[in-house]
Symmetry: C4
Subunit: 227 residues, 4 copies
Amino acid sequence: MKERVFAANLELPDAGLVKLTWGNVSEINREAGVIVIKPSGVSYSTMKSGDMVVTDLNGETIEAGLKPSSDLATHVALYKAFKEIGSVVHTHSKYAVMWAQAGREIPAYGTTHADTFYGGVPCTRQLTPEEVTSAYELETGKVIVETFKEKAIDPLAVPGVLVYGHGPFTWGQTPQKAVENSIVLDEVAEMASMTEVVNEAVQPIPQYLLDKHFFRKHGSNAYYGQN
Amino acid sequence: MKERVFAANLELPDAGLVKLTWGNVSEINREAGVIVIKPSGVSYSTMKSGDMVVTDLNGETIEAGLKPSSDLATHVALYKAFKEIGSVVHTHSKYAVMWAQAGREIPAYGTTHADTFYGGVPCTRQLTPEEVTSAYELETGKVIVETFKEKAIDPLAVPGVLVYGHGPFTWGQTPQKAVENSIVLDEVAEMASMTEVVNEAVQPIPQYLLDKHFFRKHGSNAYYGQN
Amino acid sequence: MKERVFAANLELPDAGLVKLTWGNVSEINREAGVIVIKPSGVSYSTMKSGDMVVTDLNGETIEAGLKPSSDLATHVALYKAFKEIGSVVHTHSKYAVMWAQAGREIPAYGTTHADTFYGGVPCTRQLTPEEVTSAYELETGKVIVETFKEKAIDPLAVPGVLVYGHGPFTWGQTPQKAVENSIVLDEVAEMASMTEVVNEAVQPIPQYLLDKHFFRKHGSNAYYGQN
Amino acid sequence: MKERVFAANLELPDAGLVKLTWGNVSEINREAGVIVIKPSGVSYSTMKSGDMVVTDLNGETIEAGLKPSSDLATHVALYKAFKEIGSVVHTHSKYAVMWAQAGREIPAYGTTHADTFYGGVPCTRQLTPEEVTSAYELETGKVIVETFKEKAIDPLAVPGVLVYGHGPFTWGQTPQKAVENSIVLDEVAEMASMTEVVNEAVQPIPQYLLDKHFFRKHGSNAYYGQN
C-alpha cells in the first residue's frame, strides 16, 4: 500500500501537475483502518516509499516517522463523507488553480470533460475567517462536502472539486484513478478557458451528449475499454 | 500492417496529442478487405503491435483478441464515404478540441494552415438526441460526411474535421500522413486562436496565397520535397 | 560556495526559466566579505563551477578570471539594502516578464501565491533617462529598494519584484531558496494572467487566507514540512 | 560549412521552433561564392550533414544531390540585399507566426526584446496576386528588403522580420547567431502577446531604455559577455 501511494505521488511531477514539494496523494483501507499519505514538504526526487505516513481513520499517525502532509485533515474529511472513494489527490496544477482562483465552476464544454466528469466541476464557496483561522484543513474538507450536498452531486459522478482561491482535489476508487482524474481535470480546465477565448458565447454540451459519453465509460452499460 | 498501425498510434502520445488511453489510429486495405485499429482503452505504454484489432470493411472483428476502439464505427463510415483515404486518426488534442468545443471552423489564417488544409477546417453541426442515443459513433461518421458534402469540400484537400463538442478526426493516404495531419491541425488550431487574440479583426489569407501554398506541396505541380 | 552558486545557476535552464545565456544567481557571505556570481554571457552547457566570479561586498572582482554578470551591481545594491538575504536571482522567465512589461503588480489571487509571497509582487516605477544612462544596473537595484521602502514591504515576506519593462529579481536566504522563489514567481504570474482571462472581476484573496497560508509555511508557527 | 549548417538546422527542432520538416537554415560564403542550405522536405531525424545542398550566389545548385529548400530564393534575395549577413533562418515557430498571421509588427515591450532587436520587429505588407503567382519565394525576399528600406531599418540592428500571413525569417553573421535570433524572436513574440492580455494599454519601452539594452550587447561600447 505504501508502494502504491508512493508511486501515485511520483506520477504528479511526471504528469506536470506539481512543482517543488507541492501536491499529495493518499489511499484509505477502511477494513484495515488505515490511511497512507505523502509526508509534508519532502522533495519528490529524494522521497522513498518508506517515507509514506500511516495514520488511522481519524488521521492520527500510528507509526513513528515523518510528519504527514499538512492537508491530511482535508483527506480525512473527504473519506468520512464519501464512503465509496479509496484515494484522494491534491495538486496546484495550473489550469485547475486558475479556475479556483477565478471562483468559477468548470463547465462541461465537451466530451473530454464528459468522459470523466458528469457535469460541471464545482467550485466551493469562500471559507469564512472563522473557518480559516480555526481548523483550516478540516474546514476545507467540510466545505467540499457541503458543496456536493447542496448541489446534490454524486462524488463518484464528479470525482473532483475546486476549492475557492486555492486549487483542485480529485478522488477515485484507487490512487491510479484519482491521479488520472487530476490529469483530466487540468486538461479540461485548460480546454475550457481557451474555448471561452475562441467563443465567448459557448454553452455546455447538451445533457444527452453528457449522458452518452459518461455512461459509455461508467456504470453497468459501459462499453469503453476491455471489460 | 499491424506494425504500421501500432507505430502510428504510438506517435500520438510522442507528439503530445493524447493523454492516458485517448486517441486511435486505423488503416484500411480495401483490396484485402481489412481494417486494423487500436484496441479500446489500452495503455500506450503496455500496448503491443499484436494487440491491434483486425476487422472487415464493415468493422466486424475477424480475429479473436481485444475489443476494437469504441470509435471504430466512425472510422468505418469515413472509409465508406471517402474512397481515396487509407487511414483515420482521432485525438483529443487540446487546441483542436477547443475549437470543436467552441463550435467554430478553424479559418485559414496563414501558410502553415494552407500547406496542409486547402481552406478552413470545418466543424460539424451538433448531433441530435436521436443520433446520440441510437448509433452514436456511426452517426458521428455520418455527420462528418454530411459536412463535407454540404460544403462541397474534397476530403483530400481538407484532410480533417472538428466534431462539434467533441474533437478532431484527420485522415490521409497512409497512417503516417494521417498522424502528420493531426499534428498540423493542432498546431494551426493553436496559432489561429492566438492570432485572434493579437488581432480581433484578422481575416483569412487571400485565395491566391492559399492556392500557392497548397499546390506547392500537393498535386501534379508540387515542387516541395524531393519528388 | 562556487559549487553551490554554479549548481543554482544550472537550475535556471533546467526549470525552464532562462534561454541562451540569460539569467544569473549570486550568493553573499557577509562574514567572509565575498559575493560569488555567474560570469557574463557564458553558455550554461559549457560553464564550470570554477568559472564563477568572486567579488568583494562592493562588487569589485578579487580573483583573476571571467567578467562577472553585467547585473552584478543590481545584486550588490540588494545585498546592501536587504541585510537578511543570502542570494539573489535574476531571470527573463516569460510570465514574470510579461507582468513586468505590462507594468503591473501581480495580485495575490490564490494560496499558491500566498504560500511564498505575503501579498502582491510589486512592480517598480519606470527608470528615468538619467538613471538608465548613468549607472543603469546600480539604479535598477536602487529602484527595487525604493519600491519596497515606499510600499513598506518586508523583503523576506515578499522575496521578489518586477522591474518595469525588464523582468523579475527574487532572493532568499540560500541560492536554493532564491531559485525556488523564481520558479514560484513565474508560476503564479502565469496563473494570475489566466485567472483574469477566466474572470475579469477577480479580486485578491482575503487577508485572513493570505495570513493563513503564508504563516503555515513561514515564521515561528509554521507547521508545513518536517521541521 | 556543411557540418555547421547541418548542426544549425538540427537546433531548430531541439529549440521547439519547427515541427515535421518545416524550417531551414542557410549560410553564405561570399568569398568562396557558395551558399549551403537544408534540402527540401527532408526529415530532421534522418538528415545527414552530407545532405546539405551547395549552390552558387544566385542559388543555382553546383553539386549533384538533393533539391534545396523551396525557400532558397528568399534566402538568396536577402543575401544580395543585406551584404553584412552570413546566415538566414526560416521557421514556422508558433508565436512569431501568430503575429505574422495577425499582420502586426511586434512592439518592443521590454528589455528581452531590446537585447536583440533594436525596435519593433516589422511585418511586411501582403504580397499581391502577381507576386504570389510569379516568383513567389523571390518576391518574399523582395518584400522583406522593401520593408527594411521603406522603414529605414538596419537589418543588423533588427535581425528578423515577419512575412504577412506566413511567418518569421531571421538572420545573423553566423548560423548560430541566426538561430539564436529565431529563438529570441519567438520568445518575445509570446511575451508581447501575453503582455497585451495583461495590460491592453501597454506602450513600447522608451527609446533610452531600448538604446541602453541594445548597445549594452552590441557595438563598440558593448560590455555584456566576455569580450
